[in-house]
Symmetry: C2
Subunit: 132 residues, 2 copies
């Protein structure tokens, strides 16, 4: 319990649900791969283990990214922004796929000609990722 009361965690400006926005950026390419949420426990675990942990708002549980798919994220660096409510992680994405759709990044839709166009390929069928 002592580590969970660490002062560096108190410098994070948790929102009214106790969460902070976390951005996972590919340490090599700089590409933003995904954005999710962390609570205090998941940020602590991320720092302690060097593996990205989030809080799943839909499942309402701690979420070790890749626990099912094997697509873990190794964390190289954590940064906090000026007002303390967003974290950017430099990560290595194991398997090269961050998105549940089987794409490298969740940001595969680009605004073009007045609409969102899917511009990135699916690298692996999600059925093969989650129920191999």
């Amino acid at each position: 319990m002592s580590s969970v009361s660490a002062s560096w965690l108190d410098e994070v400006k948790w929102d009214d649900k106790g969460l902070v926005t976390a951005i996972a950026q590919d340490a090599a390419s700089g590409r933003v791969l995904m954005v999710a949420w962390m609570n205090r426990e998941s940020l602590q675990l991320t720092a302690d283990t060097g593996i990205a942990h989030y809080w799943s708002r839909s499942r309402r549980k701690l979420w070790k990214k890749g626990e099912e798919s094997g697509h873990l994220q190794t964390v190289r660096e954590l940064r906090l922004d000026c007002d303390g409510d967003v974290i950017v992680m430099q990560i290595e994405q194991i398997g090269g796929i961050a998105c549940h759709t089987g794409r490298e990044s969740c940001f595969y839709r680009r605004f073009e000609n007045g609409g969102w166009t899917t511009v990135d390929a699916v690298l692996k069928d999600p059925r093969a990722i989650y129920h191999p």
Copy 2:
């Protein structure tokens, strides 16, 4: 009004306050410069003008980034994530300073040895930016 009811705006999953998270990433370096919020009007204006507009939660008003400092953001690309609640913009940061502290990026604190350490220099005194 017709443009504000455009269907591409309906594909964004606005939160219960009518906002979406917007990440500004330097188009050249890939660095994440800042994260802020957009409402429907600010996203529409961003797409229409090619200049980043946000919604200021603290001031509760439309916020054309750089309107006071001159540090406008020219938008090269807009992307939406898989669940539609985060936007990543590739931008050119006029003046090279995105943060109100006078730094290039808001993410100037790095987690080191159990604490957040300021690792980026102030490029310009904020007093010279906002009250020149």
